[in-house]
């Protein structure tokens, strides 16, 4: 019963609340219930044991009192009847010549005999009578013998043999005076004397049974027992009215009076027998139920604010996980949960920043890829054609054309190679040489190119096609007809590498510089795609702190400065591969 109840409560909690709350309720329950259950049932067990024992003894005492009462009454009547019987069996003591007295001596004798009978009366004796065969009786004159003879039990009396006795209960309505419905216990014995009027007469001894019935009433009313009395012939002499149905669980006492053949049968329904311990049991259960409710309420009350905050944290996390990075938790306190909320807010902000960065980078990368796609003209066709032209030129002896196409092919080779993104500076310089050759053939010896590069710098890695777009920019925008001077310096600073490209061309104003370096202006006229590309590729490869910067004085010079990390092909294979 208790277990079922507990299960139900737990179920209820499970269904109605989150898991923290459940755990808290369970925790509270365990904390409250364990001692309560242990002490409750210990005290129940002990006290009910004591109470039951006491009640048992009390009950047994009450029943034994009834036993005793009945036996005493029997004994008393029996002793009196024996005594009178013995007295009557002595013919010298009693000379009842005539049944009904007529003479002075007979009156005296009968008076004396009746006094003898009266003398046997004790406190609760109702009457002692000697009733003759003809219906005459000796004893006080309160007895209405006709009513006595009408009583149902009297029929049995006539069949009583010598040595038999009859004991039973009946009402006192066979008396002229007094209460008519008093309970009486009567004993009838046949007189053993065979002399004269005494032959076949019976001795009737009546005892007021009110006290006995008050015992029975006490047992019936106070102890809820049902009582059955049976006489020697197994006839029911008394049975509790409205007795409850007999159950196997009833507590039963049986007693048999050997001397009189009577049986006492006392039966108490179990529920009454254990009534007092049931009360304890009920109160224990009540206390436990009450504490369960209390614990439940307390647990709910304490866990609601806590779990509410945890739940809001959880839902916020869920929203973040669904992509809503604008989620913020209101920080209401500075306990652990408050700190947690604060950290969560910080974390979300950082993630948001990072995601923004990554998305920008990704966008640029995509654009670059798209652009690269545009450039993907079938290189084989181009190179095959160029090679054919080169051979044609050589066959025709046009050495200049052949040379030009050779250098162009080299430049394009580099230009259209998407594989190796990072290359050593010396390789890029090789491409520049070819490029410059092409320009030289185009414009003639109109420009001056100065390279100031330490040999140890030649192995540092730069993105492919970093320098060539800048050279192209110089030739297309800074110089007119290819006239000018170009200076390329590579400086290895302690932290990084600087490639400085200076020209003495037209120069540009600040606005143009900004336009060149800010991506959104790039598609105005297609101008400067190369320059921005350089900057972005450096940034893509090495990070935002690296890149291209431009300084310029109009009409004097323009300086492109590329800031790069110091990386070597051999040292940093990993990056190459990546």
């Amino acid at each position: 019963m208790r277990n079922i109840f507990k299960k139900r409560i737990v179920k209820f909690i499970f269904f109605s609340f989150g898991s923290i709350r459940t755990k808290m309720v369970l925790f509270f329950l365990i904390v409250a219930l364990f001692p309560l259950l242990i002490f409750g049932f210990l005290s129940y067990g002990k006290s009910s044991e004591i109470v039951n024992k006491q009640f048992n003894e009390y009950e047994q005492f009450a029943v034994s009192q009834l036993d005793e009462q009945i036996e005493n009454t029997f004994e008393q009547m029996y002793v009196v009847s024996k005594d009178i019987n013995q007295y009557l069996s002595d013919p010298t003591l009693v000379i009842l010549k005539e049944e009904i007295p007529r003479s002075y001596t007979e009156f005296i004798e009968i008076e004396n005999f009746e006094r003898y009978l009266e003398a046997h009366k004790t406190y609760n004796t109702k009457g002692i009578y000697l009733i003759t065969n003809t219906g005459y009786y000796y004893g006080n004159s309160r007895l209405d013998i006709h009513k006595l003879f009408q009583k149902s039990f009297w029929k049995e009396i006539n069949s009583l043999k010598e040595g038999d006795l009859w004991i039973g209960f009946y009402n006192s309505d066979h008396y002229y005076t007094g209460e008519k419905n008093e309970k009486i216990m009567g004993l009838v014995v046949p007189i053993e004397s065979q002399f004269g009027v005494l032959k076949g007469s019976k001795l009737l001894i009546e005892i007021n049974a009110e006290e006995l019935f008050s015992y029975i009433g006490f047992l019936e009313n106070k102890l809820h027992s049902s009582i059955t009395l049976k006489n020697g012939k197994h006839q029911i002499v008394y049975k509790t009215k409205n007795a409850p149905k007999e159950l196997k669980t009833d507590i039963v006492w049986n007693n048999h009076f050997d001397a009189y053949g009577w049986d006492i049968h006392v039966r108490i329904p179990q529920e009454y027998y254990y009534q007092s311990s049931n009360v304890i049991y009920r109160y224990t259960i009540l206390a436990i139920l009450f504490s369960i409710i209390l614990v439940y309420v307390l647990a709910v009350v304490f866990s609601v604010p806590l779990t509410k905050r945890i739940k809001s944290l959880k839902s916020s996390m869920k929203r973040v996980s669904e992509g809503n990075l604008d989620t913020q938790i209101a920080v209401t306190s500075n306990d652990e949960l408050g700190v947690l909320a604060q950290s969560f807010n910080d974390m979300v902000n950082q993630i948001k920043e990072l995601v923004e960065q990554i998305s920008t980078t990704e966008r640029l990368k995509r654009q670059a890829e798209l652009r690269a796609f545009h450039y993907q003209i079938n290189p084989h066709l181009l190179f095959n054609t160029l090679n054919s032209i080169q051979w044609k030129a050589r066959l025709l002896g046009a050495k200049e054309v052949q040379e030009m196409i050779y250098h162009l092919t080299e430049v394009l080779h580099e230009n259209l190679n998407f594989s190796d993104e990072l290359i050593p500076i010396k390789q890029e310089l090789q491409t520049i040489k070819h490029y410059l050759k092409v320009q030289e053939i185009r414009f003639g010896q109109t420009f001056e190119y100065i390279e100031d590069i330490r040999s140890e710098c030649l192995d540092y890695l730069i993105p492919r096609m970093t320098l060539q777009p800048l050279f192209e920019n110089i030739f297309f925008h800074a110089f007119e007809d290819g006239r000018g001077r170009i200076e390329l310096v590579v400086i290895a600073k302690p932290e990084h590498l600087e490639i400085i490209l200076t020209d003495n061309g037209k120069g540009m104003n600040q606005e143009t510089i900004e336009k060149l370096l800010i991506p959104k202006h790039q598609n105005d006229k297609g101008r400067g795609i190369g320059v921005i590309n350089v900057d972005q590729r450096v940034k893509l490869h090495f990070g935002m702190e690296y890149g291209l910067s431009i300084e310029s004085v109009i009409g004097v010079k323009t300086i492109f400065i590329i800031k790069l990390p110091k990386r070597r092909y051999v040292d940093d294979k990993g990056i190459n591969c990546g």
Binding site: Y104, Y136, Y137, E179
Partner: protein, 422 residues
Amino acid sequence: MKKFWITILVIMLVFVTAACSNNKSSKSEPNQIRKEQKHKIVLRFATWDSGESLKIQKKIAKKFEEKNPYIKVQVEEYGDEFDQKLSASFGAKNPPDVMYMWNFPAYFQNLEPLDNFINRDPFIDMNDYYQGLLNHSTMYRKLYGIPAGFTTRVVYYNKDIFDAANLPYPKDGWTWDDFKGIAKKLTDPAKEQYGFGVRQEPDTYDLQGIVWSNGSSFISDDGSEIAGYMNSPETIESIRMLTDMIQDTSAVLVDGKNQQSGEENFIAGKIAMWESGFWPLEEFKEANINFGTVEMPAFNGKPVKGVISSSAVSIARDSKNKDLAWEFVKYYNSPEVVKMRKADLPVRISLVKEMKTEKDPLIEPFYKMLERSNGTPAFLLTKNWDAINRNLSAAINATLLEQDAETLLNNAVKDSEKYLGQ
């Protein structure tokens, strides 16, 4: 949060109130009982009455309790076992505080003399009681009981039978000769109708009035002699008068064992006259018979004497609450209680006058007989009257069965003399 506190509060309240109400219901009952047991003094009152009289006595006890809320009167119904139970309780030194009493010679040593209470109490006037009644509860000049009720003996007569025989109703001052004549005239054995009914085994106490009326007694006034009293010619004549009526069939024997009682015979119209006390009056009224009462007849030239059967209330010597018992005894004869006690004739002169009890023609003869009752019953004169009486009873019983009164009374005297002077 508010909700929470409210719920807690409500739950607490529910439990507290539940606990409180529980306490109330479980504790209040025994408390009251305890109060009663603790603060109420229990006054035990033993009575031999049953039926209606007992109900009235219980009502009186209730009224007394109302007036004295600290007292509980416990009415103990001894009924027919009165003597048995009373002797037992005296023997156990645990007697009732107050009890009905008539047999003062047997019990007076266990009773509290009331003279001190009477002298101390300004509210009781003993002159208001009939002196003849007070004599009955006095032993050795000490009063042991306050009279509660009494009866004298009168003759009930069936007016219808008198009317049918065209006889005038008997009047006070009539003689036994008148009585015998009337009885003879009213007898018709064919109709099983007799003039008078004689008890087969009469109580010698009741016969004293007739013996006294004839100028004799069963015992000398000082209680020392019976010879010449119990067997005096006047006593013998008184008894013979009854046997004569039986012999000439103008009277019939009634009331024996296994016989109809005299009252039943009177109600059935089988006897025209019946000598008795106050007790059957109500029964006769209820039976709706047309009857009257008249004083006892006189012997020629001699004054009529009556015998009183009285009941008194006494206080046990071993009572622990004698003062309260005295209050109850006094209350038992207070006007309101006397008016309740319909089964008894009032014993206080002032109340008899006030209630005009004696003006009732059926009751008047009882008070007239009371005035004529100044003899002292034999049982008050000698300790051993019981033993003497057994012989006297046997003699009278045998006489009524057609044996010679003189011989038997002489026998009785002879057999009883040994009990005198002991």
